[in-house]
């Protein structure tokens, strides 16, 4: 019996050592994944736009040309795709050659003179003015391939000069990447820029131009939202009620086309954090009439559809954000003690906690493709913007900035651009809460508003063509 035992042991030991020497065998070919490409910008040459016409008959041509050029230039800079070649390096005098390449066009430009300075892309454009009518003729060339990317003529009046520049920029991004830009989008926000300590609702172009004031409650307005079709804005304002003389956070709906507004939710307590469903039919919001704040779904006329969250007693469930496919809802809840981000089915069933890092995570926002969520996270003493996959993996910090006094700045309330390429958020790094946009790795942050007022809760619209 002992013999057997010993033999068994030896056999066992040899099996182990045998297994060690056998080793894994790999496939016939050696495969190497080359990933993590270095990112580079494409060198682009954008000579000033030519003016086809008589300067004396249209004295405003300089201003119009400058606005077109400036707007396109800013748009393309913001994409972070391009690096503009300094015009002093150009080898060709673009005022003397045509917009089209040489062999085909007798007075055309030469691809060679752009290749030599390393340009990958070349934009050649010219415009003409007839009274108030503006025509922009513009071509984008791939210099490396000596090929046209796309070319188009845009017509409009001079008061839509920026629109023409934005439309061209959108077309260019679409031709280059297959995905349209966001340059015709706008953003709603609240701000104290009107003075008097009030916060009113405003709308502006994504680049901070054309700011319009939407409300005049002489009160504090909160959490505006713009509908997917871009026609309506929902917002909350502390408005005094005529009968009781008390103030309550009520929800209003504002029509951008008619400038009319309706009071749609005025339940006791807060009625805030509105979010339009992707189908434009419903509004999700936080209502606190039953004690602790919970998320409800109402119609645009204010009629109640149903309660979405039914959190544990005393827990708050706020800041709803419906996924672009309309199937999920993300929100923040403190049911676990600290506010964290949860995702549930859009009817509120099957809630799952997705963030565990940090001490306080709030304001979730879905990327347009529904794959990612941006949120504000608090760790030690300030908020920063983060993105993650919708399941909570692959968390990336977008912002990290200090105030002039050396303390950490708060970066909050992020929202995605309609093309999914950028995030817009507020930051108090200058001392006041201003609006910024950033690309998705946080490498290029740009300030959108530039004054000393405060801006809050931006929400980005779709392209408003």
């Amino acid at each position: 019996m002992i013999k057997h035992l010993v033999f068994g042991l030896i056999l066992f030991v040899t099996t182990i050592s045998g297994a060690q020497t056998a080793g894994p065998s790999s496939a016939a070919k050696v495969q190497i994944d080359v990933d993590q490409a270095k990112v580079r910008k494409s060198l682009i040459a954008f000579p000033s736009l030519q003016f086809f016409g008589n300067p004396s008959s249209s004295p405003s041509f300089n201003a119009v040309g400058a606005e077109l050029y400036r707007t396109i230039n800013n748009n393309l800079t913001v994409t972070s795709f391009f690096q503009f070649i300094n015009p002093s390096a150009f080898l060709e005098d673009t005022t003397k050659v045509g917009l089209k390449p040489a062999p085909a066009d007798a007075n055309g430009f030469k691809f060679d003179s752009w290749k030599q300075i390393g340009a990958e892309f070349l934009i050649r454009g010219g415009f003409s003015l007839a009274g108030n009518d503006l025509t922009l003729e513009i071509y984008v060339y791939n210099v490396t391939k000596a090929d046209l990317v796309f070319g188009k003529k845009y017509r409009g009046t001079t008061d839509v000069t920026r629109r023409i520049a934005h439309t061209f920029s959108n077309d260019l991004l679409e031709a280059l990447t297959g995905i349209r830009g966001m340059f015709l989008s706008r953003a709603v926000f609240t701000s104290d820029r009107g003075g008097g300590g009030y916060r009113e609702v405003y709308i502006m172009d994504w680049d901070g131009m054309n700011v319009e004031k939407l409300t005049n409650h002489r009160s504090v307005s909160l959490s505006p939202a713009i509908s997917p079709d871009g026609t309506k804005v929902a917002y909350t304002a502390f408005v005094q009620r005529a009968r009781t003389k008390t103030r309550n956070a009520d929800l209003f709906l504002y029509d951008l086309q008619t400038a009319k507004r309706w009071l749609i939710s005025y339940r006791q307590g807060i009625n805030s954090g509105a979010f339009f469903s992707p189908d434009n039919e419903h509004i999700f919001l936080t209502i606190s009439q039953n004690g602790s704040p919970d998320i409800y779904k109402i119609k645009q006329d204010g009629s109640m559809v149903g309660r979405i969250t039914n959190g544990p007693r005393g827990a708050m469930n706020v800041e709803p954000a419906v996924s672009p496919d309309g199937k999920k809802i993300a929100y923040s809840s403190d049911r676990s003690g600290q506010p964290m981000i949860y995702i549930a089915n859009v009817d509120g069933s099957n809630p799952k906690r997705v963030t565990f890092a940090g001490r306080y995570n709030s304001t979730p926002s879905w990327s347009p493709d529904g794959k990612k969520i941006a949120f504000s996270g608090w760790e030690a003493d300030h908020f920063d913007i983060f993105t993650m996959n919708a399941d909570g993996t692959n968390m990336v910090r977008i912002t990290s900035s200090r105030k002039p006094n050396g303390k950490w700045a708060n970066n909050e309330d992020s929202v995605w651009s309609p093309d999914g390429r950028f995030l817009m958020y507020t930051s108090n790094r200058t001392g006041s809460s201003q609006i910024y946009i950033s690309n998705l790795d946080g490498s290029e942050e740009r300030r959108v508003t530039s004054d000393s007022f405060n801006y809050f809760k931006p929400r980005w619209s779709k392209n408003l063509d």
Binding site: P24, S25, V30, I32, K38, S42, L43, I117, V396, G442
Partner: protein
């Protein structure tokens, strides 16, 4: 009668002897194994355990700040010329001819042009040339150094593997396996040096596969796109990344055949 059965002294002794025999034979076995079949060195790699309880830090990238000038700045000029002058001496490499040739050719063409335009053009050209020349020199010097090392490594045992030579396979173990892994890591990082994508092609989940064959010195013999990304520009950039990587680090002996006959499959992704 005790309710429990206690083993008698006799059987205890039997088990003790058994235990001694078993342990003794095990000891003997391992001693013999250790003496005569010395195992291969165990590679100890440090393991890092990361608990993600905190929010991640911001990743800094190489992208220049928004305000950065898009064109090589003038202030950098003298520094660059110095470098350019220094490098060829130490590496015994002649200045690339292109640096001188082109401005001359330009002169003939632009005989009619104004002095100012000419100067400006020359300036711009010279700047670009200078940078290109510098990059070229650096690249060549680096490649040359690698080549010399490779030549030394294979000198004497240089073998030619051409034609339909049967591969012995690459199921490697122990030290050979570690060597292979480190070589693959070398090639990987070498290739990644040259792998850059324009920003506008990112986030589109593009990937392409290229088979690359190279000789014992690492010179690329052939490259073939075996799976396109569907985007011609992406494919071109991947192919030129391969071309710019020649020569790759010279393969260790066990890899020479695989490298020159089957080739390595590179899967390029963002």
């Amino acid at each position: 009668m005790s309710p429990y059965q206690v083993p008698r002294d006799e059987s205890l002794r039997k088990y003790l002897i058994g235990s001694v025999v078993v342990h003794g034979s095990l000891l003997l076995f391992f001693s013999v194994k250790a003496v005569f079949w010395s195992g291969e060195a165990i590679n100890l790699q440090s393991a890092v355990r990361v608990d993600l309880v905190a929010l991640p830090d911001k990743i800094s990238t190489n992208t220049p700040p928004p305000g950065a000038s898009p064109v090589p700045e003038k202030e950098k000029q003298p520094e660059k010329t110095q470098e350019a002058a220094k490098t060829p001496v130490s590496e015994k490499k002649p200045e690339p001819k292109t640096a001188v040739k082109v401005p001359e050719k330009k002169k003939e063409d632009d005989a009619i042009n104004l002095e100012a335009t000419k100067n400006r053009q020359k300036d711009a050209l010279a700047r670009l040339r200078q940078q290109a020349a510098l990059e070229e020199i650096e690249r060549k010097a680096e490649a040359e150094a690698k080549r010399q090392k490779a030549l030394e490594a294979v000198r004497g045992s240089a073998q030619q593997y051409k034609g339909n030579v049967l591969s012995t396979g690459n199921s490697l173990t122990g030290l050979a396996k570690l060597q292979a892994e480190s070589y693959i890591a070398n090639v990987h990082s070498h290739m990644r040096q040259n792998w850059s994508l324009p920003d506008y092609l990112r986030r589109r989940n593009l990937n392409a596969e290229i088979v690359v064959k190279f000789d014992a010195q690492g010179n690329i013999l052939a490259k073939a796109l075996v799976r396109s990304s569907g985007n011609p520009t992406f494919d071109e950039i991947a192919l030129s990344a391969v071309q710019n990587s020649s020569p790759v680090p010279p393969p260790p002996e066990k890899f020479v055949k695989i490298a020159s006959v089957e080739g390595f499959l590179f899967r390029f992704s963002e």
